[in-house]
Symmetry: C2
DNA sequence: CCGTATCCGTGGAGATACTG
DNA sequence: CAGTATCTCCACGGATACGG
């Protein structure tokens, strides 16, 4: 990418990760861990192979990504983030939290993957009752299935199915996500198509994280 | 910008602010407050006027920016962020903090403005001795001058000059910024060209904020 | 001085086909 | 499966000229 030519950390950061697709590639590697080329590609519907290959090469030169020629059993390369690349996690958290405001409606033709259903509760919620009993929530939206596991004061998520969920949420993505993150109340979520089975009280344990700037309404420019 | 077409809050966020220059325009409005077109432009060396005009229009349609036809004395329009736009502040914080790793060296031809000298301490440091006496630091780098004011437990900054600074830092941008943010120690900063006058102990009061992910070394993908 | 409109050269993005 | 190669086309950057 052409540099902005500003001696400013934001501009220099954007010099490195401001290119189209770049932050989504980081998202992918962050969510999936070490991945094969094709797996990264499948996690990024719409990306062109040459573009992805090029970006991975650039990211490697910048030291954000590393790739290993994996041992025989895999017979393939694995791409993974370096520490520098993983350090982008707070950026993706902030961006993902901000972007939540645009998740209210589904758009025709939008791709939707289970990983994206999973990262929202993992990144943006905490257990309001950390000492409470373990609890498991099964999510199922457009056939994309993920699991939330509460326990030890943490909110863990993974793609797939739970054996004995305490609560199952089914419905279109905005309904499931909205209910999870408290963007809409249960009644409204049901009108959006949410179906629940089990103990809905578990949802009250998911407390959405407060962002810095929501807490302290920012005043004038530089002084704070 | 062409949409990624992902039902994912990060992708949707990037749909809105992922275009080239867009986040820097937000940076500018965030740092300066309500600004005239030309002031925004001057804060963004290298931007083309038509591009800036176009982006401001898009941002306004998205509801991140508002503009007012100012009353007679000014005879101009003022652009400012809406609450939605200001909500991007945490994103810029995270990105600016991450981008600090690329501030080690100056690059030939890079533009440098006092605002960028000022926002780093304001956004990324806290007063380690909040009950301590007020203190004032004057910064002067490449002729760009800014002031840091410590007091009431806050770190305030502004562009310009202080009447009676307790400490004055002069030198090339990486030296001044590095010393301020503790990226390099004083001795190293001096070899980079830093000159100090006054009570250097004030620097010890500036404590760089810890990011979420530095604190808790992140483990595997979605579980955390 | 403030901002808009237009033209043009270049490069990056997207789609597709093809190879190790 | 893991990319490379090729092509088209739009967006950006830069300059400039023009209306308020």
């Amino acid at each position: 990418m052409r540099s902005y030519g500003h001696y400013c950390s934001i501009a220099r950061g954007l010099d490195v990760v401001g290119d189209r697709w770049t932050l989504l590639i980081v998202r992918e590697l962050l969510l999936r861990g070490p991945s094969r080329f094709t797996d990264v590609k499948n996690g990024l519907p719409g990306v062109a192979t040459n573009l992805l290959a090029g970006r991975l090469k650039e990211l490697e030169q910048e030291g954000l990504v590393r790739h290993e020629y994996a041992p025989p059993p895999i017979a393939s390369q694995l791409y993974e983030l370096t520490d520098e690349g993983r350090a982008l996690e707070p950026v993706l958290h902030a961006l993902g939290l901000w972007g939540m405001r645009y998740m209210g409606e589904e758009r025709d033709g939008d791709a939707f993957l289970a990983e994206w259903l999973a990262y929202a509760p993992a990144w943006f919620t905490t257990d309001a009752d950390p000492a409470g009993p373990p609890a498991v929530v099964q999510l199922d939206s457009d056939g994309q299935r993920a699991v939330i596991e509460l326990g030890d004061g943490r909110v863990r998520t993974r793609v797939g199915d739970a054996a004995h969920p305490d609560l199952t949420l089914t419905g279109p993505p905005p309904a499931v996500l909205g209910a999870l993150l408290g963007k809409v109340n249960l009644k409204r979520a049901r009108t959006l198509g949410l179906k629940t089975r089990g103990n809905v009280a578990v949802l009250d344990r998911l407390r959405v994280v407060q962002t810095e700037s929501e807490a302290s309404a920012s005043g004038s420019p530089l002084s704070r």
